[in-house]
């Protein structure tokens, strides 16, 4: 009956209670939303590369190597010579090795030279491989395969010509050797979507008339001649490696890092990702902190609402006292009301969150390659909901204690 009266009392003050519920709900949406985006981003990030045991590049920082080889962010400081690459490829621990050559671009998208093995071994989201949505993989020297975002942003279709520019932000184009789009990949939500993929030989071919990053003046080798040339790469930017047995990862890593002929660096993608998250983590924690403060603000609003309702409810409390309620009962009722309000807020918030997810999921996926799964509330989210309810009850103790003292002093007689 007390619970029913609490509910009746709350519905009688529907407007103010509704506002409080809304404030709590929005704060819960924000807090859980930030948490969802955070874990979603982390998962998307971690899902960018899987199945690769080691990434090898010229010696620099592990995060830098990870960023340019996988995320196409930043540039390599140096290349790995073809001889070193072949030395590593020949090691018994190596099950497969995929070369990557970066440095050119098409419009705002990076161009990556690689071998056919890339399409076989590059995995994302656990064990998903690259699929061709339209067309086929490269068959000719001047064939290119483009990622889904490249195709949609630039409106390309299979068969369209594509000209590669030298460097990442450059107007110097390799316009004497135009490529043809042979295939478009399925969307993956990884940086592959924003990459133009050509063969290692093609990278070599478009640089035939180039030296030290500039075109040799007056020289223009005809395409037919290029096709006859030996297009064995001279260097690679990085390489992805799969080992025969997981036990060999560290042996191979040590061997590469100690490679005597050239300073090289081998990293474990997972470890480097962790390192990267360690850096991003500060911002992430700050964001979570801010959204937690919003929850606290909403709860203080709840407390203020109860405080301001106390005076107009003195009659009510006097009636309860007259029929024999103890001051403690009045305290419990106020706390119960606050907990109910907070619970309503938290549950409405959870509902709103799912609504937002349903609406925003495809948008976030297409805009940022961020996939937020819609699933049952996690245990952690349920704890947040419970925490908000408990915190609502706790902050209401302050006005409830005041009501307790008021009802002891007033008794049944309200002096106004």
């Amino acid at each position: 009956m007390i619970l029913r009266l609490c509910l009746a009392s709350l519905t009688a003050r529907a407007l103010t209670v509704g506002m409080t519920v809304l404030a709590v709900a929005l704060s819960v949406v924000l807090f859980l939303g930030v948490e969802k985006v955070r874990t979603g981003a982390k998962a998307s990030f971690a899902d960018t590369i899987s199945g690769t045991d080691l990434i090898v590049g010229a010696r620099s920082g592990s995060v830098q190597l990870l960023l340019y080889s996988v995320f196409r962010i930043g540039n390599a400081t140096n290349n790995v010579t073809w001889a070193s690459y072949q030395d590593i490829a020949a090691r018994p621990e190596v099950d497969w090795i995929v070369p990557i050559s970066l440095g050119d671009s098409h419009r705002q998208f990076r161009v990556m030279g690689t071998s056919a093995a890339f399409f076989e071994h590059y995995k994302y989201r656990q064990d998903r491989g690259l699929e061709v949505a339209d067309g086929a993989l490269m068959a000719d020297l001047f064939d290119a395969v483009i990622g889904a975002d490249v195709a949609t942003t630039l409106g390309y279709a299979v068969g369209d010509p594509i000209i590669v520019a030298h460097g990442v932000a450059s107007f110097t184009e390799h316009d004497d050797q135009p490529f043809r789009i042979s295939g478009i990949l399925e969307k993956t939500g990884t940086p592959v979507d924003r990459t133009v993929i050509v063969s290692m030989e093609a990278i070599e071919a478009i640089h035939v008339d180039w030296q030290s990053g500039a075109r040799i003046p007056g020289q223009s080798t005809p395409i037919e001649t290029i096709r006859q040339m030996d297009l064995t790469p001279q260097a690679v930017t990085a390489a992805l490696i799969g080992v025969e047995s997981p036990l060999q990862i560290f042996d191979l890593q040590r061997a590469i890092n100690d490679y005597p002929e050239e300073p090289l660096l081998a990293i474990l993608p997972g470890v480097a990702l962790q390192e990267l998250w360690g850096i991003v983590g500060i911002a992430e924690t700050a964001l979570l902190g801010v959204s937690a403060m919003v929850v606290v603000t909403a709860l203080i609003g709840l407390m203020a609402t109860i405080f301001s309702s106390l005076n107009e409810r003195r009659r009510e409390m006097a009636i309860f006292r007259a029929v024999g309620a103890r001051p403690l009962t009045i305290l419990v009722m106020l706390v119960l009301e606050a907990a109910l309000t907070a619970a309503a807020g938290a549950i409405v918030g959870l509902g709103l969150l799912y609504l937002c997810l349903v609406v925003a999921q495809p948008l976030l996926d297409s805009a940022f390659g961020l996939w937020l799964p819609i699933e049952r509330p996690s245990l952690q989210e349920l704890w947040v909901v419970l925490g908000v309810i408990a915190a609502g009850a706790i902050v209401s103790l302050l006005p409830a204690l005041r009501a307790y003292r008021m009802s002891v002093a007033d008794g049944m007689m309200v002096r106004i």
Partner: protein
């Protein structure tokens, strides 16, 4: 009861509001017999609120004893006093008796929540509410209506039903008719006394209106019973 001694007795009661403006109330002796109806006449500010609070046990006297049905209220702890009030006293205020957001039935049944003995005496709560409401000339369809929608006269009658449910032996009424017009006052008191005769409860009613005295067994002046001292003690 074997001993038909007084239902309520106050002896040498002395009360001062702690820390407030100097105000003290002394009651040398005051009794209400079982089944008796007593009208206490007093203007506002004559200490009636303080006296009723003492009798109902929401405040404690510094000296003296207050005994209700053989239990010394003034010797009980807070929770026990609240429990005693719930079980033995039905209270009717001047106005604003009801929880506006609850239904009439909620309001009438409210004391039972805090008084197990009274609850045990009511076999079928809903039927008892209907019976009391009918006896007090409240239409059946009001029972499930929200109390805020009732007229003042109807609210006062619901307050009577609430005070009477579960048959407490003692009803305390604080100017229950002052919010009503003269015509309704008579009708209201007729209905209330009818119910009191049925339940056999005692009534202590405070009012400033001496014309109501004819209905009561005994009329007393508050100033004769309680000595108020407003000087600094």
């Amino acid at each position: 009861m074997a001993d038909p001694g007084p239902l309520l007795s106050l002896d040498d009661v002395h009360f001062r509001w702690p820390g407030r403006a100097p105000f003290s109330l002394n009651v040398p002796e005051f009794r209400v017999a079982a089944g008796e109806t007593v009208l206490l006449l007093g203007e506002s500010g004559s200490g009636k609120s303080t006296l009723l609070s003492l009798i109902c046990g929401t405040i404690l006297p510094q000296e003296g004893t207050i005994t209700l049905l053989g239990t010394e209220i003034s010797a009980l702890k807070g929770a026990a006093r609240d429990r005693l009030r719930a079980e033995r006293i039905g209270v009717i205020f001047q106005q604003f008796n009801l929880l506006p957001f609850g239904t009439v039935a909620d309001n009438v049944l409210l004391p039972l929540r805090f008084a197990p003995q009274r609850r045990a005496r009511v076999k079928a709560p809903r039927d008892e509410v209907r019976r009391l409401c009918r006896a007090l000339k409240l239409p059946d369809d009001l029972i499930s209506a929200r109390a805020a929608l009732l007229s003042v006269g109807q609210q006062q009658r619901v307050a009577v039903a609430r005070a009477l449910i579960g048959q407490p032996p003692f009803i305390v009424a604080d100017e229950p008719t002052s919010a009503l017009d003269a015509e309704s006052q008579g009708a209201f008191l007729d209905l209330m006394f009818e119910r009191l005769r049925e339940s056999g409860a005692s009534l202590l009613m405070v009012s400033h209106d001496a014309r109501l005295g004819a209905r009561f067994d005994r009329v007393a002046q508050l100033s004769d019973i309680a000595v108020i001292d407003r000087l600094a003690a």
